[in-house]
């Protein structure tokens, strides 16, 4: 059942992105930045946590979960050590994604030549 929920949730987020791309002059860069902001906005009221319980991995794959993880790590640390925790813990949960993207793109770009 959670697979169906994952399909529906991830599909709907992609459809929202596609509708914005088709009907406005915004580029994919605009759309991804907008969706990250939407993700962190939804987590302000703990709505995104409910999506993750409902759709599992389907809610972690879209870029909206990136904004959710940023604010989630910041607030977790802020609850522990106070106001400065917002800055200390900002990258706590997203560090794996950013680090792996940097490492893989650096080493693969040394190996491969650009196509076209």
């Amino acid at each position: 059942m959670i697979y169906l929920n994952a399909f529906i949730f991830c599909g709907i987020v992609c459809v929202i992105g596609q509708i914005i791309l088709d009907n406005t002059k915004l580029t994919p860069g605009h759309v991804t930045a907008l969706l990250v902001v939407v993700g962190s906005f939804l987590d302000t009221f703990s709505i995104y946590d409910k999506f993750i319980i409902w759709a599992g991995g389907g809610a972690m794959v879209p870029i909206t979960s990136f904004g959710h993880l940023l604010i989630h790590g910041a607030l977790d640390t802020a609850n522990d050590i106070g106001f400065m925790g917002l800055m200390v813990g900002m990258f706590d949960l997203t560090a794996s994604g950013i680090t792996s993207a940097i490492i893989f793109s650096f080493f693969l770009s040394l190996i491969f030549k650009p196509k076209s």
Binding site: F7, G17, V36, G58, V61, A101, L108, P114
Partner: protein, 146 residues
């Protein structure tokens, strides 16, 4: 007068994109990515005997690696052209934007090429994510009590 006519001719000859088809394919491909994500989480949790939270980190790293590798091999650009937002919105789009920037500026050298241009496309995601997360974080910390 001439300019308007030229614009009309251009408008007539621009290929019209089928928006319904685009939306359908974005829904289908995006949904499939979600199912793959959930499948990987379940697989890692079963094989390595770890919690769902740790398995989701493995899943994100795996998807980023696949996105980077397929971009290097040249498949990803064609697939993005065919599947539109279905591949841009998932985390593979983030990996693709970093990888293609790194590949494109490879010839300008390691520091001035890869080093300074890797975040050219993906930087907007990180910057607006951090700015919005900090702003909303302050609001939630002071108004809703963390």
């Amino acid at each position: 007068m001439e300019k308007n006519r030229y614009k009309d001719i251009v408008k007539d000859h621009t290929p019209k994109e089928n928006r319904l088809y685009n939306t359908m394919i974005a829904f289908f491909v995006g949904g499939l990515m979600g199912v793959i994500g959930q499948g990987l989480v379940d697989l890692y949790a079963l094989v390595f005997d770890i919690s769902t939270k740790e398995a989701s980190i493995f899943m994100i790293v795996t998807l980023i690696f696949i996105g980077c590798l397929l971009t290097c091999l040249g498949f990803f650009d064609k697939w993005v052209h065919a599947c539109k937002a279905g591949l841009i919105v998932p985390i593979t789009g983030f990996a693709h934007s970093m990888m293609s920037a790194a590949l494109e500026y490879r010839k300008e050298g390691l520091i001035t090429g890869i080093g300074s241009n890797m975040f050219k496309l993906a930087g907007s995601v990180i910057i607006y994510g951090v700015v919005s997360a900090y702003t909303f974080g302050i609001i939630r910390y002071f108004l809703l009590g963390g």
